[in-house]
């Protein structure tokens, strides 16, 4: 059936069963590939997008439930927090293989939007669900602190 999704401010009509996970609609039907498939069971966070501003595992959200919701992917990130996060990520050379980093960044933007000055343990709690097999975690922590600083200026 035809389902209309609002992705990055644009209306996208996709032909999909209502139980199709948002992840696959974004990737295979809409063609936005920055959002990644890592586990399919909400255990790694690689597929994290924002739904109505909240970080959401797109492998679990079903397209049939999302008509009218505002969906934002890494390609549609903008604003002060996103700019601070992405620039800090780049300047600290956080990435290695990079495959999980869209999801890490979407979660980090969610964290800093809720809590502009998180402690290490608050970062650990919030980012716990985002796996990085390259283990870039020490730099993720550092980049979130750096982004927090950049948001003040």
């Amino acid at each position: 059936m035809a389902i209309t999704l609002n992705i990055n401010g644009e209306e996208k009509s996709v032909e999909a069963p209502p139980d199709m996970p948002l992840l696959w609609a974004i990737r295979d039907l809409v063609g936005l590939t920055g959002t990644k498939f890592g586990c399919g069971v909400a255990s790694c966070g690689a597929c994290t997008v924002h739904v109505d501003g909240a970080p959401t595992r797109s492998c679990q959200a079903r397209v049939g439930d999302l008509e009218g919701a505002e969906i934002r992917t890494i390609e549609g990130l903008d604003g002060n927090v996103a700019q601070a996060v992405q620039s800090a990520w780049k300047d600290l050379d956080v990435v290695q293989c990079g495959y999980c980093q869209s999801g890490q960044i979407m979660s980090a933007v969610g964290l800093l939007s809720e809590n502009a000055k998180p402690s290490d343990s608050e970062i650990d709690d919030y980012m716990w669900g985002n796996v990085c097999r390259c283990a870039t975690y020490t730099r993720i922590r550092a980049a979130i602190h750096e982004a927090s600083k950049r948001m003040e200026t």
């Binding site: 069963p17 696959w24 399919g40 293989c97 990079g98 097999r133």
Partner: protein, 716 residues
């Protein structure tokens, strides 16, 4: 433009020491070529008329930093402006892009920088020499008076960017590469040089194989035998074909392929597929049976001698004190973040592969053979790989062959994108070999280590492969016993015995290969020996590393930077380990705290000697990452079997290290002038034993059965 230069001329210009490294370069005389309107003075670099420099990367990028590393080497000698340097992955062309340490085009064994160090520098220097000749001819000045810096060529008041000169290289100019002395380096060794892949990987634009969707692509998943070695007897596709989006179901030699218009539909179709299998040649054992066979072999059979110096048994039996330890290391899956996948199209007598390709020569050969078009008609477009840790390179090119077979079975010439689910990945084999390792060591009355005997049981990675003859000598796979049989410790009576085990389950190199387990056994048993000798663990190691100055130096550096011997808070413990792998020397000091019996990893201080540190920040990142990857398996991960089926399936039961587990890490890099060695893997082996020794120091428990949670350790 087309500048005639020859490989022979390049070789003549190269130094004698480096000439060996350019063997295997394009012998077809294609050193100079017009390439898409750009100046391509050799196969490793293109310079456009807008001044943009593109470094052609013979190694893939799985996160280890080769995009940055190879670019650094070439840009250093070219004196390019770093911001003008871009990257492109090389095509599959073994003659031109061979890994000179492997003899094939491919990445592995932490060799990317080691084998490229002279080659990419020479390629940059050769290109620079042609730009200098262009400027000399254009300006009518002696080439020797021309300066090049940050992408600008200057002489007196004359100056030009690279882009202005590419059209002015004189006809017949031959490159005259002169390499810098290390004192002249401006990029090699610069810790502030930004990674080349950071921008694309922070805005979602980096393209991985998973993101390749050519026109007309069909998505496919494969139903494989649920037990290793099983064969398909029948299948019923009727329910699968009912799933919305499923377009076809076909039998292939590797399993039953379900094709669909999107990945989700393919996965749903596979859920609905019914298959029957013959398991008469399959692995049907359970974990306890497999382990019992290893133990029985070690108990009852003589084994294969992998090393025998002096009389280990006699020295241990006659020693004042003996230490005995038995270690268990489980099978492990690599589980890179990007599940295995690639796209293959077979059409009009040609095969096209889109892949985070790690082993170009093998994949080109395998896809060419399976598709019937031949390797010469098989092209590979390499894209970013979402991790590998060894998994994307194997002698069968398993997932690329699967995709090729799926494309052939569909038979309509459309590109097929074959995707593995995480469950496919965790259950798909090619595991780090399970290993049991017994150590007996003897200490004399003066506290000296006088004898050591390691007895190991595991399945060979190389036996039966095309490289088996080179690697397996008298039945002993060097990779089964590496890290022990080639230890740097001086032990007068030293023996290593190997029991070579069999199984239908395929084994593979997993980040740091044999060192991933041998380093742990060596360094924990060494701590036990030091304790039996009544000596400090660092001082004990220093004595027997006297003949290994680089390992001794990193041991001393890590101990100094960590404050070895200093006070720790109540409930904390400190442990040390030192291990050489891939010609790189790494020592680590770990600190843990224990609260109510729960262990927390607090800090790891690492010291590294990998020769000339080309990109110090990438080196730091690789050591941080190798520690984290290694701790994942040390703490919690294992693959086990029940009736031949893998018990684990996905991250919830193959639990990776998470951010809250990650200790603070400090990396100290030795300023060496030796040739660069590996760094992707060597940070891993010492991490586990350093933590184990710290746990012992804190709570008096020796952890010898991995993962640690199976040996009574709980973590916070």
């Amino acid at each position: 433009m087309n500048i005639k230069t020859t490989r022979r001329a390049f070789l003549q210009g190269a130094t004698a020491a480096s000439a060996a490294l350019v063997v295997g370069l394009n012998a077809k005389g294609a050193w100079a070529a017009a390439h898409g309107g750009e100046f391509m003075p050799n196969p490793f670099v293109k310079i456009a008329d807008d001044g943009k420099v593109t470094v052609i990367l013979k190694h893939f990028e799985m996160g280890q930093g080769t995009t940055t590393g190879l670019s650094t080497l070439l840009a250093e000698e070219l004196d390019a402006n770093w911001e003008d340097v871009g990257i492109e992955f090389a095509p599959a062309d073994t003659a031109t892009y061979m890994n000179t340490l492997m003899g094939v085009q491919g990445s592995g064994g932490s060799t990317a920088i080691a084998n490229s160090y002279m080659q990419y520098r020479e390629a940059g220097a050769a290109a620079k020499s042609l730009l200098i000749q262009a400027a000399a001819a254009d300006w009518g000045v002696p080439a020797g008076e021309i300066q090049v810096k940050d992408g600008m060529v200057t002489h007196g008041d004359k100056s030009a960017g690279f882009g202005e000169l590419v059209g002015k290289v004189p006809e017949g100019a031959e490159p005259d590469p002169a390499l810098k002395s290390p004192a002249e380096f401006t990029k090699i060794g610069d810790a502030s040089l930004p990674r080349k892949d950071s921008a694309a990987k922070t805005n979602g634009t980096a393209i991985f194989a998973m993101d390749v969707m050519p026109e007309g692509v069909v998505y496919a998943v494969l139903q494989r035998s649920p037990k290793f070695g099983g064969t398909l007897t029948s299948f019923d596709a009727s329910a699968a074909m009912e799933v919305e989006g499923v377009v076809d179901v076909k039998e292939t030699p590797m399993g039953v392929a379900v094709y669909a218009t999107n990945t989700w539909a393919a996965l749903q179709g596979r859920e609905a597929l019914e298959t029957e299998w013959d398991f008469s040649n399959a692995e049907t054992r359970s974990q306890d049976e497999i382990e019992a066979e290893y133990t029985a072999a070690m108990d009852n059979e003589e084994g294969l001698p992998a090393r025998a110096d002096g009389d280990a048994a006699g020295a241990i039996d006659g020693a004042a004190k003996t230490v005995e330890a038995e270690f268990h290391f489980p099978f492990l899956a690599h589980a890179p973040m990007e599940p295995l996948n690639c796209v293959v199209q077979v059409k009009d007598g040609k095969a096209q592969v889109w892949d985070g390709c790690q082993f170009h020569t093998v994949t080109q050969g395998a896809v060419g053979a399976v598709s019937g078009v031949g390797p010469e008609n098989t092209a590979i477009e390499t894209v970013y790989a979402g991790g590998s840790f060894g998994r994307r390179a194997n002698f069968n090119s398993d997932y690329e062959v699967e995709a090729t077979m799926a494309a052939l079975a569909l038979g309509d010439g459309r590109p097929v994108k074959l995707v593995w689910s995480r469950e496919d990945d965790v259950r798909g084999g090619y595991y780090r070999p399970m290993t049991k390792h017994r150590v007996r060591a003897g200490i004399d009355a003066d506290g000296n280590l006088v004898g050591w005997h390691s007895t190991m049981a595991n399945k060979s990675i190389f036996k039966g492969t095309p490289m088996g003859d080179a690697v397996v000598v008298d039945g002993v796979d060097a990779f089964s016993v590496e890290g022990v049989a080639d230890t740097e410790y001086t032990i007068p009576n030293f023996a290593v015995t190997l029991h070579d085990m069999e199984s239908p389950v395929p084994m593979l190199w997993w980040r740091s290969v044999g060192h991933s387990h041998s380093g742990y056994a060596m360094e924990v048993a060494m701590d036990m020996a030091a304790e039996a000798a009544g000596r400090d663990p660092v001082e004990f190691r220093q004595q027997i590393l006297a003949g290994a100055p680089r390992s001794l130096a990193v041991l001393n550096l890590a101990a100094e930077k960590a404050g070895w011997g200093g006070d720790l808070p109540e409930g904390w413990g400190r442990g040390v380990a030192v291990h050489k792998s891939f010609n790189t020397h790494v020592a680590q000091v770990a600190e843990v705290s224990v609260t109510d019996g729960d262990v927390k990893l607090e800090r790891i201080v690492a010291a590294v000697d990998c020769g000339v540190p080309v990109n110090p920040d990438v080196i730091r990142a690789q050591v941080e990452g190798a520690i984290g990857y290694g701790l994942s398996h040390v703490m919690r991960q294992k693959i086990t079997f029940t009736d031949g089926m893998v018990d684990q399936s996905n991250f919830p039961d193959y639990e990776p290290l998470r951010i809250s587990d990650m200790p603070k890490i400090e990396v100290h890099i030795v300023q060496s002038s030796e040739a660069p060695t590996g760094i992707g893997e060597p940070g891993l082996p010492p991490a586990g034993p350093a933590v184990a020794n710290a746990i012992y120091n804190a709570m008096g428990k020796r952890v010898m059965h991995l993962p640690m949670i199976d040996d009574g350790i709980s973590f916070v």
